[in-house]
């Protein structure tokens, strides 16, 4: 290709070259796709770019999917929403101090104040009951504490605080486990089996990793009653 020809085709080349990533991810309109097809057929540089983008696409798309702890995350979002809604509810209290001094029927005002007082009392009682319930629940658990077991749970584990999600997922994949609950305030995850791998094998695979600080079986199966598998590492 001569310099003149290259110059003539430069604008088309640049425009098509910039479309190649979206040609690869198949989101171009038909007309644009045909334009790329036509240009790539006669442009070695764009064919080369196309090959590079295909490799990037395959490489990025192939990276492991995460299995995030969405249920636990959702609980924390719900707690934030509760707080936000409680804060938003506070401005509704000002009717206790009516701005109109010339209220035509003071009895309404008295009734409103009484209703508000009752509402605040009920709210306070509700909060107190919630506090009481929480206060009865210890914010720690010991290995020997009997606690409700989430459905499917076979292992409880604690991971190093520095563990990344990808590392966590890799470890769980290797041990063929999935998270069914957690982390608790103490950082304890409830894990269920993803396969026919025995709990004992899964525990052994977990314990190979230095980022697994604690792993304990929760089933009362014979293999879990063996001394070496029932205690923390």
């Amino acid at each position: 290709m001569t310099n003149n020809r290259r110059s003539e085709n430069s604008a088309e080349h640049q425009e098509v070259s910039a479309l190649i990533p979206w040609y690869v991810n198949d989101t171009l309109a038909d007309s644009e796709r045909q334009r790329v097809d036509a240009h790539v057929g006669s442009c070695a540089v764009c064919r080369d770019d196309l090959a590079v983008h295909k490799r990037l696409f395959e490489g990025i798309d192939a990276q492991p999917a995460l299995d995030p702890l969405k249920e636990a995350s959702l609980k924390r979002l719900q707690a934030r929403l509760d707080v936000a809604q409680a804060q938003n509810a506070l401005p509704s209290i000002p009717p206790l101090a009516p701005s109109r001094s010339d209220a035509p029927w003071p009895g309404w005002m008295a009734a409103s104040i009484a209703a508000m007082a009752v509402a605040i009392g009920l709210l306070a009682a509700d909060r107190w009951l919630q506090f009481e319930v929480r206060a009865q629940q210890p914010n720690y658990r010991t290995v020997t504490t009997s606690i409700p077991r989430p459905p499917g749970e076979v292992i409880r584990a604690v991971f190093a605080p520095s563990i990344t999600l990808v590392e966590l997922q890799t470890i769980l994949d290797e041990a063929q486990l999935k998270i069914v609950s957690g982390p608790t305030e103490a950082g304890v995850y409830s894990l269920a089996s993803n396969s026919t791998l025995t709990v004992r094998s899964s525990l052994a695979l977990l314990r190979r990793h230095s980022t697994v600080r604690f792993a304990e079986g929760t089933l009362r199966e014979p293999e879990l009653r063996e001394p070496e598998s029932g205690s923390s590492p």
Binding site: S17, N25, T27, V52, Q63, L69, S73
Partner: protein, 194 residues
């Protein structure tokens, strides 16, 4: 699943967002669960720490909760939600001054990767991506994992399509300099991308 769920993901998202705008927490929770996985993957390009990822996702959905009534049907719900996550993450990223972690490839050592090994190439790609400027890294993720069109990425990142094209171009060039196994030589810098 709420009765609002529809067959088409777009219809389902729209119906859920309408319900969220009306103050339906169950709808918000359903929307949250349906987006959590892809947002977590997307945000893992910002930070590998799950606690940071979760914080950004939850910040995003607090914004969704508070602003659902302002959503305009001109865009897709997915573009809107991911755009909020993108901006929330950038704010978090800059606030924590972590952006120095997104070093340029000039700081990265000469490539020592065996170009014949796919596993090595993928391992390199993971590290190479983490060293791209964050906007370039996320453009690649939005296009190549999440499958967004050029126009959608422009909407998500709130910038012109020409900027998206330029980010993609520079990302590819930096990655190619670092890993010849990707193939080809450096491209001519376009005078105009757009």
């Amino acid at each position: 699943m709420t009765p609002l769920a529809k067959n088409s993901p777009k219809e389902r998202d729209n119906a859920l967002l309408v319900a969220v705008a009306a103050g339906d927490r169950r709808a918000l929770e359903e929307l949250y669960l349906s987006y959590h996985r892809r947002l977590a993957r997307f945000l893992s390009r910002f930070t590998p720490r799950y606690e940071n990822i979760e914080e950004i996702i939850n910040d995003t959905f607090m914004v969704v909760w508070e602003n659902a009534k302002d959503f305009r049907n001109a865009s897709q719900v997915s573009t809107w939600v991911i755009g909020i996550a993108y901006r929330t993450a950038l704010k978090s990223f800059r606030r924590q001054k972590n952006h120095q972690l997104a070093r340029s490839l000039e700081d990265y050592p000469e490539q020592t990767v065996d170009p014949t090994s796919d596993a090595e190439v993928n391992d390199w790609l993971k590290h190479g991506l983490s060293r791209l400027p964050i906007e370039q890294r996320l453009t690649l993720e939005l296009a190549y994992h999440m499958g967004h069109s050029l126009e959608e990425i422009a909407a998500i990142t709130d910038c012109p399509v020409g900027t998206v094209k330029a980010r993609m171009f520079h990302a590819r060039e930096k990655l190619r300099q670092y890993l010849p196994a990707l193939g080809g030589g450096p491209s001519e810098l376009p005078a105009r991308i757009g």
